[in-house]
């Protein structure tokens, strides 16, 4: 046997230690956050846009929207934070579709990592993304007079509720992101869903003055329960009126319940759509 032949059969390799789900996900989160740092404009949707919403509603419509027993800016802030959180599902969907479209997911799939780390990493970075938005909202709120009035525990509980709800909707995002082929399609679809979802609710105006059928829809909208829960936990508004629908009478419990219902529905759909897409 000649030396050349020996060389042809052996490639010296470095030690490969395939990462655990946690490590692989953390690496993918690092990569996704690097994207945000390189393109801070990715944060526009949850920062500048949301601040604009706050200012628009607080100062332009604020005078016209009478909220009994509360000042409108305090009433508004929880609503805008919920809206920001709901939009995290659009963020995750667009990010996932973009990675699928550009072959990045294919690259990850060719590596010895748990495939679910692509989804776990994506959802964590999207939660971080929208949490930055909530933080910016909070600071803006503090500047214009919003306060957490019911103590630290309730205050933190409200933030946890927001995160849980955001996490639940992320599965909707993964589902939509796995089904659609282009980022533009995803964006169009998600915004068409998100706008009515966040506007036909108590986010920007109380539901009492809506026409009865619209009021019923708005009060059963999961977004309203979460908004009401945050308002009550932060002490930013009165409890729901006695004639409001049942979910608004028990907003914290109902928000938690909706979150788990969404996870139960969308997580299996999301995982199977992603798997199916991953088979081709």
């Amino acid at each position: 046997m000649t030396a050349v032949q020996t060389a042809r059969t052996s490639v010296t390799r470095p030690p490969i230690h395939p990462p655990s789900l946690l490590r692989a996900s953390a690496t993918i989160v690092w990569r996704n956050l690097l994207h945000i740092r390189r393109m801070p404009e990715m944060l526009l949707d949850v920062t500048v846009q949301s601040v604009m919403f706050v200012l628009l509603f607080a100062y332009v419509f604020g005078g016209a929207i009478a909220v009994i027993g509360s000042n409108y800016r305090e009433f508004l802030l929880p609503g805008i934070m919920v809206q920001t959180m709901v939009f995290s599902s659009a963020i995750v969907a667009m990010g996932l579709t973009s990675d699928l479209q550009k072959g990045i997911v294919d690259r990850f799939k060719s590596l010895p990592i748990p495939r679910s780390s692509v989804l776990v990493g994506r959802s964590i970075s999207s939660l971080i993304h929208s949490s930055i938005g909530v933080l910016v909202m909070g600071l803006t709120g503090l500047l214009i007079g919003w306060r957490i009035r019911n103590g630290v525990v309730d205050g933190i509980l409200a933030f946890l509720l927001l995160l849980l709800f955001g996490f639940a909707l992320i599965w909707l995002g993964i589902w939509v992101g796995s089904l659609m082929r282009t980022v533009e399609a995803v964006q169009g679809f998600m915004f068409t869903v998100m706008f009515p979802l966040t506007f036909v609710a108590n986010t920007f105006a109380p539901t009492e003055t809506m026409t009865p059928w619209l009021r019923t829809i708005a009060e059963w909208n999961p977004v309203s329960a979460l908004t009401q829960a945050c308002r009550e936990l932060w002490g930013n508004g009165p409890p729901a009126p006695a004639d409001a629908a049942w979910p608004l009478q028990n907003p914290v419990m109902v928000s938690v319940a909706w979150s788990f219902i969404f996870i139960a529905i969308f997580a299996p759909l999301a995982v199977s759509a992603f798997r199916r897409r991953s088979r081709d």
Partner: protein, 332 residues
Amino acid sequence: MTAAPAVEAVELVKHFGDTRAVDDVSFVVPAGSVLGLLGPNGAGKTTLVRMLTTLSVPTSGTGRVAGFDIIEQPNEVRRSMGLTGQAATVDEILTGRENLKLIGALYGLPRKYVAEATERLFARFDLTHAADRMAKTYSGGMRRRLDLAVSLLAAPPILFLDEPTTGLDPMSRSGLWDVLRELVTEGTTLVLTTQYLEEADNLADEIVVVDKGKVIAAGTPTQLKDRAGKASVVVTLTNAADLDAAADLMRAHSPEVHVERGSRRVTAQAGGLGDMTRIAAVFETSGIELDDLGLARPSLDDVFLHLTGHRAETEPDAGASSSDATTEGVPS
């Protein structure tokens, strides 16, 4: 030395709805050799590579990579091979260096190794000057090279390349060929797809020709070219009046001579360069004026025409052309 094959396809089938993208394909690639999967656009090359690299699940059949079953042991397969897909799969927002860092972390490679390997690979692929630039500023050729560097980071003994040179200019193409040859001398087994017979001819030990999802021929480059017909010497005359004289001259050197009057061309079957120089020498002394004299080898077109009776479409497909478009207006 073991005779275990590096890659095996065993009756692989993949259907997309009614499309039979891959229809019962089997082949064996011995360790250390180069297999060329040759076929026109839509033949099923990408689908084959995606199945063998565990990106796509076969409808039926299976395959083995480094002895591991692609369906039963996908993770072992992923550890044993590198893949450079048809469209570059680099992260455009990350710098070249960060792309390698990302992949290194996902393989769980030691940081120190990744740092050293990055320097080595960037030097080899002429990317050192661009290592800290975002990959979106790279030209199409640079992206391809970065993609290849990423694929080679864990020094895989088996490398799959899907149309590695489609859309590259001739210079970059021959540069890439050199790199691939080096890899082979280092012991890497290559499976590469291509639409160009010339490329398969240059690189592959063994060629498998696929069309419409099926293997229509397999063999060494020489065997295939012989089946597709011999090379020919093509002479273009300055004056049509000399056509018959030229044909007579060439008949003395070749069994089969063909005259095309309209284009003032005489074609003679030839064995290779030797025949061409001999015929050139004859015309040197004949006084017949020539516009052009050259050797025409059978093209992929000829192979296809011969094997299938229909012409191959050789324009690059969507994935490749979109990566070309990115070369526009990019500093290199």
